[in-house]
Homo-oligomer: 138 residues x 2
DNA sequence: CTATTACTTTAGAATCATTATAAACTATTA
DNA sequence: TAATAGTTTATAATGATTCTAAAGTAATAG
């Protein structure tokens, strides 16, 4: 199956109609090797580069990212910055976070071991373990 | 030395004039046993409760929190949520983060051990190691 | 003290990210 | 092919935060 069909299937199996806009954004986000970390603003700039024929409205980009997140195809990342950051790597993993540039870089889940996990507060359960290594220019 | 003077000294030694507003906010934030995690909106509600005589403007609360952060008396916390969260615990430590209620709870730095720390990307150095245990209702 | 200066507070406006609205459009279904 | 349900879009609305500039207060110099 080619990539176009893969994307269409991914959308359909998430009960999202494979519209032109969603296919374009999904193709950009999901047909890649390396993790992509982004804000909606950044994604909008890339998707709507001036040379691009078919523009996608900002509202649609927000809607689509939200739909992909709800479908489990994107993960929202904890950062400060009052902007939402998204991650195409939806598996549990860790990050370097550059506090000066706000850039994120993945660390494989098994490259860090977290031992002595405390119990969750009563009535709650642990859902994910994330390590953030804050970095800056050395 | 009493608490009033302690606060005044803390402000002065950070080169912040001990104004009525700063003393009130500092007294509320720093004279406590347990860590306090908050957003500016929450702090504003508490500081400006209706029964309170002297109101403090929202702009001043923003200014003051920013000044305290720059002076190192508060730490900004990584969350999603598009609001800034602050922490009166400025030492390195970890958190439970309830993704349903956005509530934070401290975990002592030594209650979790992180082993096998990877090297920082070249040209960068690790500044802090933070573990977030995402929790939800069980 | 008092005057001058520098810093701070404040209301309100401005900005930025995000969400809501509602009309036009398009994919799916009957 | 027609009906329908879902989607896109421009635009307005909202919410958090920052900016502005005028009035107020703390520190300092005389
Ligand atoms: Mn945040
Ligand atoms: Mn955020
Ligand atoms: Zn990642
Ligand atoms: Zn904390």
């Amino acid at each position: 199956m080619n990539q176009k069909n893969k994307i269409t299937n991914k959308l359909r199996s998430s009960k999202l109609r494979p519209t032109k806009q969603r296919r374009k954004i999904a193709d950009f986000l999901f047909n890649r090797e390396k993790t992509f970390h982004f804000t909606v603003e950044e994604l909008n700039k890339i998707i709507n580069k001036k040379d691009n024929l078919q523009k996608i409205s900002l509202a649609t980009i927000y809607n689509t990212i939200d739909a992909f997140k709800k479908a489990g195809h994107l993960k929202e990342i904890l950062t400060n910055n009052n902007k939402s950051y998204y991650d195409t790597n939806i598996s549990s993993h860790h990050h370097f976070f550059d506090i000066e540039t706000n850039e994120l870089e993945d660390i494989n889940y098994n490259d860090i071991k977290v031992v002595n996990l405390p119990h969750a507060p009563k009535g709650k359960k642990i859902q994910d373990v994330e390590v953030t290594l804050t970095v800056k220019k050395s």
